[in-house]
């Protein structure tokens, strides 16, 4: 611990160089573990209730594969471009980092736009959060994910501003890395929403 070489290690990527940064990143992983548990409870609720449609529409009535695929591909691609942003950061290319973060933001915004349109469409068809147990658990699960993505867009915007002001420092690098972990995690959650909500709902 008292070893200063260990405290500030030049051979590591910028985001890992200080003890504080390393602990921040580890702490964020532990937070993601808790997020997995949170989404697990929402998935469990949804999967228990999704066939309880009452007098409202069923999954097969509601879901459209084309819209779901557009959302899936937008988010999947944004996870890829976010990975490229970190790749550029590790090559110390600020412009590349900023460009890929911006592309990630735009794809994320596109995802949210389609999701909001999807929700509005459902509500116009009379499928609201109060219609049935299926729709309550559906809107809570998918809405919680959408809220996370929206938060991520705001967070990433602030980090872009900080990068423009301060450039590469161990601190900004750590922040970029942590927001990238968050963004990839949201794609992981979406993979399961795509599979367990949409595909399952259209198959059963």
């Amino acid at each position: 611990m008292a070893d200063t070489a260990h405290h500030y290690d030049e051979t590591m990527p910028l985001e890992y160089r200080t003890e504080e940064s390393r602990l921040n990143i580890l702490g964020f992983w532990i937070f993601l573990g808790a997020e997995v548990a949170l989404f697990a409870t929402l998935f469990a609720t949804y999967l228990v209730l999704f066939q309880r449609t009452g007098h409202g529409p069923t999954t097969a009535d509601l879901f459209e594969i084309k819209d779901v695929m557009i959302e899936t591909l937008l988010l999947l691609t944004s996870s890829f471009t976010c990975g490229l942003a970190v790749f550029e950061m590790r090559r110390r290319r600020l412009t590349g980092l900023l460009v890929w973060l911006l592309v990630t933001l735009l794809l994320g915004a596109g995802f949210i736009t389609f999701e909001v349109r999807e929700f509005i469409h459902y509500v116009h068809e009379g499928a609201t959060i109060q219609t049935s147990a299926f729709l309550s658990s559906f809107f809570v699960l998918v809405g919680t994910h959408g809220a996370h993505v929206s938060l991520g867009i705001g967070w990433m915007t602030l980090i872009i501003i900080q990068l423009l002001q301060r450039g590469f420092t161990p601190r900004t690098a750590r922040k970029v890395f942590i927001v990238s972990l968050y963004w990839h995690f949201l794609d992981v959650v979406w993979i399961f929403i795509f599979t367990l909500v949409y595909l399952t709902g259209m198959v059963m």
């Binding site: 992983w29 808790a34 548990a37 999967l47 228990v48 899936t72 993979i191 599979t195 595909l199």
Partner: protein
């Protein structure tokens, strides 16, 4: 760690990860709508593909194993997935007797 972040000039790992993710996504789509399998087999198939894709993201994009605490991070995520499986599968199993 430390060895894998220098000197790379082209993001091969990310591109391979992205292509594999696309393949897994469209494979799930195909299994669901075109494979003609029984419903149960479809469900098992697409869940397996989803888990594969999640693991892919963790390793190819999130570098879960890197840094000094890579081991802790990996155990933490494995444990959280264990909790998730217990909660989800346990709820479905329990409620199957009620509904």
């Amino acid at each position: 760690m430390g060895a894998n972040h220098h000197h790379e000039t082209f993001p091969w790992k990310h591109i391979v990860g992205f292509i594999l993710s696309l393949v897994l996504t469209f494979a799930a789509l195909w299994i669901a709508f075109s494979s003609g399998l029984a419903t149960k087999a479809i469900l098992v198939g697409i869940v397996v593909l989803a888990v594969l894709q999640a693991v892919l993201q963790l390793f190819m994009f999130m570098h879960v194993t890197e840094s000094d605490s890579g081991k802790i991070q990996t155990i933490n995520m494995a444990y959280s997935f264990f909790i998730a499986i217990v909660v989800v599968a346990g709820s479905i199993w329990t409620m199957a007797f009620v509904l």
